[in-house]
Structure formats: structure tokens, C-alpha cells
């Protein structure tokens, strides 16, 4: 049933695939962090058309599957702009954009949790808008949401197997390739599952510890 020799044989290859999985996750997370913040700003804009359009985009991206969005980036966008997009970039942009809409909500909740008095104090001290954001609001809004951001990093990590649909050779694709050569599916797919479980479990423990430490620092 379970062939240890075969499992050990394919493990190094899967671990190489795992490297790509981690790399694509981190790149996409950076995209999501930046775009998410921009979306959060735009959705708060006093200029109604901008905020409405932003909210519409967020709603649309959140209500359609990542898989189809990635297909669109990989197959359709090159036809529209006349430049082919490598699978890695399509994957990073797709995953990053998709989760930027979730992170924009997280930023929003962080920003809204900053007491109104902080804005008023900044105005009373005659800060500019940019100064207020940079030195008053964001330094208070971001730390409390770091654990939530960490959880989204884990969620994104678990979404990367979808990218094998556009032939990105991450861990899932590596397993699929192994299966197509050896015709043994049990060990590769089980190993992939176990590796995902180990990493996301450890990562979630780290996030929990971070959360506890931050709560202590804030004296809760």
C-alpha cells in the first residue's frame, strides 16, 4: 500500500516544488499587501466615483473564482496587450490581486478601529493629510491587524496549488508530473498533503504566538 522507498525517492523533487510554492506565495503576498492598502485608500476616498468604482472592483474580484481569474491573466490578457505573460507572473499577479481585495477589508477594519479623536488631534496639531496617515493613523492601524495578515499569508499558501492549472511548476504540479511518469498517485499526493499540513500548522502556531505577544504588549 504505502511504499517508503518510492516516497523517499520522490521527496527531494517535491521539496524543490515546495520552494517554488513558498516563493510564489511570498511574492503574491507582497502584491496583496501593497494593492490591498491602495484599494483601502481608494475605497475611503471622498471622491465618490473613485470609491464606488473601487468597491465595485473589490466586489467583482471577491465574487469570482481565483482559478478563472488566473486563466484570464494567463490566456486572455496577452491577447489584449500583445505581450505574453509567464506563468509565474500570472500566478503572482492573480493570487496577489485576488487576496488584495480581502486584505483591503482587513486594512479598513484596522483603520476604522483608530479612535476618531486621533484624527481630531492630528488636525488640531495642523498635520497634513499625508502626515496624519503616515505618522498617526497607520502606525496605530497596522500592528493590531498583523496576525490577521499572517493568517491570510497561510490561506494564500494553501491556494497556490491552483496555479498548476497554468503550468507553474510548484509542488502540486511536481506531484502531477511524478504521477504521470510512475502511475503511482498515492504517495505523491499524500506527501503533498502532509507537507502542506506541516507548514501551515507551524505557521499558524507562529501567528498565534505573535498574536499573544502583541496582546501582552498592548496590555490586554
Amino acid at each position: 500500500m504505502w511504499d517508503w522507498n518510492y516516497a523517499l525517492d520522490i521527496l527531494p523533487e517535491l521539496l524543490r516544488g515546495l520552494q517554488m510554492t513558498v516563493w510564489v506565495t511570498l511574492c503574491a503576498f507582497v502584491v496583496a499587501l501593497i494593492v490591498g492598502l491602495l484599494l483601502a485608500f481608494a475605497a475611503r476616498s471622498r471622491f465618490k466615483p473613485l470609491s464606488l468604482i473601487t468597491k465595485g472592483i473589490i466586489e467583482f474580484i471577491r465574487n469570482t473564482p481565483l482559478l478563472v481569474q488566473v486563466f484570464f491573466l494567463y490566456y486572455s490578457l496577452p491577447l489584449l496587450i500583445g505581450v505574453s505573460i509567464p506563468a509565474f507572473y500570472a500566478g503572482v499577479i492573480g493570487l496577489g490581486l485576488h487576496y488584495s481585495t480581502y486584505l483591503s477589508e482587513v486594512y479598513r477594519s484596522g483603520i476604522e478601529a483608530v479612535p476618531k479623536g486621533q484624527w481630531e488631534a492630528a488636525t488640531a496639531l495642523n498635520y497634513t493629510k499625508a502626515q496624519t496617515w503616515r505618522s498617526i493613523i497607520l502606525p496605530q492601524a497596522v500592528p493590531p491587524i498583523i496576525p490577521v495578515l499572517g493568517n491570510y499569508l497561510i490561506v494564500m499558501f494553501k491556494e497556490t496549488p491552483i496555479l498548476c492549472a497554468i503550468t507553474l511548476v510548484e509542488m502540486m504540479m511536481t506531484a502531477k508530473n511524478i504521477v504521470s511518469q510512475s502511475f503511482r498517485a498515492f504517495e505523491p499526493y499524500t506527501l503533498v498533503g502532509v507537507l502542506f499540513l506541516i507548514i501551515s500548522y507551524i505557521a499558524s502556531l507562529l501567528v498565534q504566538r505573535l498574536e499573544k505577544r502583541m496582546n501582552l504588549q498592548r496590555g490586554q
Partner: protein, 217 residues
């Protein structure tokens, strides 16, 4: 050759039917699993709590696509061959059930302690407290997060494309293979169809929520 994007609709609608079917059945399984695991995690017996916790950790810790592949491609090697539909429903339902169990658990814990006390004072049996007092109130709290999860579930049904089930995504990709020049139209149409389905469902959940809370809170 198609004359316009309208010509793709019949094929896509056929796929949408599968998508909706998978959604409904997985959602039913997910809700059942969520209640079972969520209540099991509050059990007095440690063995039941532990089993539920293991289920939740395993299904939340590995990714849905891996679970789907494992159920459909790996299980046959130990002699269990699931039909596509069953593999899809099991993977999606159990995966979302694991996430949903947290919703159930926290909603039950969020019911004020006074409600337990009042039901004890009226001499209700433990299961009566749960089913007539606690769960009806907790369920109301579960509705908004369950609604969000349902939208996520609809989106995730697109993964059955990987095991070549003829759902919306799969039909669209077949069309695209046949009419490469229409790639953009097909994919935009596909996105729009998912958007419509997901939006309809979240509106329906919100209406249900409003109807159930009317006059009570």
C-alpha cells in the same frame, strides 16, 4: 464558428447546472459537518473533542485542491474508487465543514451565559437546552459568516475542473480550446456568470437573515 458570444451561452449554462449541483450538495455536507464538528469540539468527552480537532486541523491545514486530488486520484490505490461527483462533494463539503465548525463553535459560545442558566432553571435537559434555546440563537449569529463561506464555496467548485467534471469552468475551457480567438469573450462571460451566481446567493442569504431577525433584535 460562433457568430457572437450569445452562442456560447447554452454550453455554459449546461456547465452552470453542474456548478450549482455541486454547490448545493457540498453546502449541505459542509453544514452537517460544521455542526457535527463544531458541537463535538464543545463536548465533555475529550476523545470526541480530540477527534473533531484532528478533523478540523487536517482539512484546514491542507489545501482543497490537494484534498480533491487525494480523494479522486490517490484513494483508488487503496481500493476506494469514488465517482467524480462524490469525490468533488466530499472534498469541498469536508473542507468547508472544517472552516464552518469554527463558526458554529464560536456562535454557540457567544450565546450569553444567562440563556444557559434560564434553561437550567426551567429544568430543561441538556439536549433541550441546546436545541430549543442555544442553537436557535446561535444559528442566527452563524448566518452572516455562513453566507460569506457559501460564496467562497461557490468559487471553489471551479476546482472540479481539475478532475474533468463538466462544470462551468470546464465547459468554458473546452469552448476556449475550440475557439481560441474568442478566449477573452469566453473568459469574461465565465467571470460574469460566477459573479451573478455568487451575488444572487449572497443577496438571498442577506434576505433570509433579515426575515429571521425581524422583530426580535
Amino acid at each position: 464558428m460562433p457568430n457572437s458570444w450569445i452562442d456560447f451561452l447554452p454550453t455554459l449554462l449546461k456547465g452552470a447546472e453542474i456548478t450549482v449541483l455541486v454547490t448545493i450538495f457540498s453546502a449541505i455536507l459542509a453544514i452537517a459537518a460544521a455542526f457535527a464538528a463544531g458541537l463535538a469540539r464543545l463536548s465533555k468527552l475529550w476523545i470526541i473533542r480530540t477527534l473533531a480537532a484532528v478533523y478540523v486541523e487536517v482539512f484546514r491545514g491542507t489545501s482543497l485542491l490537494v484534498q480533491l486530488f487525494w480523494l479522486y486520484f490517490a484513494l483508488p490505490f487503496v481500493g476506494i474508487e469514488l465517482p467524480k461527483m462524490l469525490a468533488a462533494i466530499s472534498a469541498i463539503g469536508l473542507n468547508f465543514g472544517a472552516y464552518g465548525s469554527e463558526i458554529v463553535r464560536s456562535a454557540v459560545l457567544a450565546v450569553p451565559k444567562g440563556q444557559w442558566e434560564a434553561s437550567v432553571a426551567l429544568n430543561m435537559k441538556p439536549w433541550q437546552r441546546m436545541f430549543t434555546v442555544i442553537l436557535p440563537q446561535a444559528t442566527l449569529r452563524m448566518l452572516p459568516p455562513f453566507g460569506n463561506q457559501l460564496v467562497e464555496l461557490i468559487k471553489s467548485t471551479s476546482l472540479v475542473y481539475f478532475i474533468t467534471m463538466a462544470d462551468l469552468t470546464y465547459q468554458a475551457m473546452v469552448l476556449r480550446n475550440n475557439y481560441i480567438a474568442w478566449t477573452t469573450e469566453i473568459l469574461v462571460l465565465l467571470l460574469l456568470m460566477y459573479f451573478v451566481i455568487a451575488t444572487l446567493i449572497s443577496v438571498a442569504v442577506r434576505l433570509l437573515e433579515r426575515k429571521l431577525t425581524v422583530g426580535r433584535l
